[in-house]
Symmetry: C2
């Protein structure tokens, strides 16, 4: 397991099969097609891969975790479908979003169906591990993550146009919206692999740090990467006025003048490339890009350190590789 690419592909076939199997009985056809659309469009399957690796890293088998892994990917997909409706995003994974192809009503239902199917999968996992107890604990974690995803999205929507958001509030939002599900993915793997209480708690924190770093790094790349890697112009977050850690940090530190300048650019839906440059200069002036990147690095280091609780194994190494990947990826 030398290579991040290999790591991310190791389980993708079995995860995909498990998902296809779970969704195969959906009717009518329109609902089934809408439900499977994003899975077929292809995703990294990062979360379910983390679930299986976490399971194996505490001594379990892939078969103990495969249903929970698939369930977590379905939760992720459900949130993408509903988010795209709410945010009016037309493209996802290079394909039209579900609501663009089938309309909003079917897209709402497709999300709801995936959500239900996810819970069915975890419930059925009890037969793979011989007891309801593990499935029940995983279910509790999954249900908790689902509440947090909803709350996080609501907080994120509520932050629009609010330029007084503090770092603590922002980090809490991305924990709920993004990191909680990653933490759930790794915790679920540790539960289904029958890890110790300590290992289970540690895997949750590993996932949480990875998740926070992932989002912060995502927003950092939007400003410092290139158009080819991003698949969209550099600085599109600035044009959209998106609240990111970089923005929160700059607004907290900036002079009144610079703050007003930045707010005007963020509020302007038609910011020019020159406006984007101005915003970038403000971010650099106050060290906000560096601050954010350093925080992401700190979180990734925390994640890797936590893994030292585990016995050495290829799976532990793979989890460290994924932690590095969160920082190293260009997009």
């Amino acid at each position: 397991m030398q290579d991040i690419k290999e790591v991310l592909e190791m389980y993708s076939n079995s995860i995909y099969s498990e998902i296809k199997s779970a969704l195969s009985t959906i009717s009518p056809d329109e609902l089934k097609e809408a439900s499977i659309h994003l899975t077929d469009a292809g995703g990294k399957m990062l979360r379910p891969t983390l679930t299986i690796l976490s399971c194996k890293a505490v001594g379990g088998d892939e078969s103990d975790a495969i249903k929970s892994a698939a369930a977590i990917e379905l939760i992720h997909t459900f949130s993408l479908i509903h988010d795209d409706i709410m945010d009016k995003d037309d493209i996802r994974r290079g394909k039209p979003a579900v609501h663009k192809v089938w309309g909003e009503p079917v897209a709402i239902l497709a999300g709801d169906t995936l959500f239900s199917k996810a819970f069915q999968l975890v419930i059925n996992a009890k037969s793979d591990v011989g007891s309801s107890q593990y499935a029940n604990d995983t279910l509790a974690t999954v249900a908790d993550a689902c509440v947090k995803i909803c709350e996080g999205q609501a907080w994120d929507m509520g932050f629009e146009g609010n330029f007084e958001v503090k770092e603590e509030e922002y980090l809490d939002m991305i924990f709920k919206k993004t990191a909680a599900l990653l933490a759930t993915a790794t915790k679920a793997g540790a539960i289904m692999g029958k890890g110790s209480e300590e290992e289970i708690a540690m895997m949750y924190d590993y996932g949480r740090f990875i998740g926070l770093a992932f989002q912060i790094r995502d927003d950092y790349l939007d400003l410092v990467s290139d158009e080819e890697s991003l698949g969209k112009p550099v600085g599109s977050d600035i044009v959209e006025g998106k609240m990111t850690l970089i923005v929160v940090n700059a607004l907290e530190k900036a002079s009144a003048d610079d703050k007003n300048k930045l707010i005007a650019i963020l509020e302007n839906d038609n910011s020019s490339p020159s406006d984007v440059d101005t915003a970038l200069n403000i971010f650099e002036k106050y060290g906000s890009l560096e601050y954010s990147n350093n925080l992401a690095k700190e979180y990734v280091n925390n994640a890797k350190e936590l893994l030292d609780l585990l016995p050495d194994s290829d799976y532990k190494n793979a989890l460290k590789l994924i932690a590095d990947y969160v920082l190293d990826r260009k997009k």
Copy 2:
């Protein structure tokens, strides 16, 4: 427990408290308010009442079933919120629908939040009954119902403008969309009350028959009741072109002429009172109103007969009263 009104109110306070408690920790406030809106607007709480009665009828206590009961009401509420968005219905329980007050994005999230909270409640019920096994079985039934609700709504939406729908397809649709959750309510109560396998299966069927009868009776009343009881003009289903058992039956039996006449009225969004009368005459000509009402009666009788498996108790009587209520209510 002489009186249906008393029966329906017996547990409403504790159900309401359980729901309020479960939703009390939601943030931000906007999401919390949107999530609690329909519960505060008031509903009959029929499904959770059935859950508790079913639990007690097999020898359990209210405390064994209260969380599952509240969870099922949350599932019902989630489906109402999403259905109102999909069907573009502005009023629910005499108040503006959630999406009219808070917008569609928050309404989608409120539904998703209630859905998550429902699963959390059932998972937490394990501590009330001493084992995960019962909660797990209830969860499986609830998750299955949720998939069916989504499928049923998708089938219903797909039936619009389709005048070749057969009775079997129609009944399958209302089973999924409406009756499955009622069947889940009663089955969950029997599970949490530690009923026998036979009692649990029977309670599912009791709920299924009640659910089917409820929907068929609902559609029958739309045509034969009065405006005051309905809270809307008689025959609004005809004006909307809604697919009901009455319509399906009439279309199956009618002459080509009458079928075309009926279809034209159903397709016309601006049907006049005179059109509604024409449609009613066609329904009467082919005995479709009587057919539907008789089927509802048959289902209710089946439901009541199934209850004879249970030992006599006030709760068994209450379940029979509810079965009668499904037929006797004027709306």
